[in-house]
Symmetry: C2
Subunit: 107 residues, 2 copies
């Protein structure tokens, strides 16, 4: 990192054998960015954020995701969009998986 404004999300990922982990990257007034890290088989229960738009960007690995009535696999470089109030989650990581997430407004 050469600057407070330059971050390397992939290098910040931390895993736990117990469950999926969450960590902060940056927290602004209007926008939060963080990481979700999954070992194979780990999940994130379906949930919704009232009034907050969210995305996941898969940095590495592969996971079966749920958004609304849709269920699909997402892999590296793919973006998953979960608009405000739409239920979403990670049914299962199929590999060790790192996702960058963003949420506005911050949680």
């Amino acid at each position: 990192m050469t600057s407070a404004y330059l971050l390397d999300p992939a290098a910040a990922g931390r895993f736990s054998a117990d469950k999926a982990t969450k960590s902060d990257l940056v927290r602004g007034e209007r926008l939060f960015l963080g990481l979700n890290c999954f070992e194979p088989g780990q999940s994130q229960p379906v949930h919704a954020h009232r009034g907050a738009d969210k995305f996941y960007l898969i940095l590495s690995g592969k996971a079966r995701m749920i958004v609304g009535a849709e269920r699909f696999e997402a892999g590296p470089g793919q973006l998953v969009w979960a608009p405000a109030d739409v239920p979403h989650g990670v049914e299962s990581a199929l590999e060790r998986t790192v996702m960058m997430i963003g949420m506005a407004p911050p949680p």
Copy 2:
């Protein structure tokens, strides 16, 4: 794309020989995601968004970026954070470069 909620940003990049391009990925009530695509040598003038947090995630290529008083090179997988009201821009793309950007609230 297997779902309205699953996008492949890298596949959506469009370049112009004339100048850097911008395109929309998704536009929510609270969060906008888009792409900025640069041919080598193309730039984005330093500017600021009043009250809106912004990030760039470099998907491919390399560019010399400016945020506040900082100037640095950013490459694939690196995240550049430009908090609300802080001037930022792309001084020059050093290669053909694709950046995903997010802004909250949307422009």
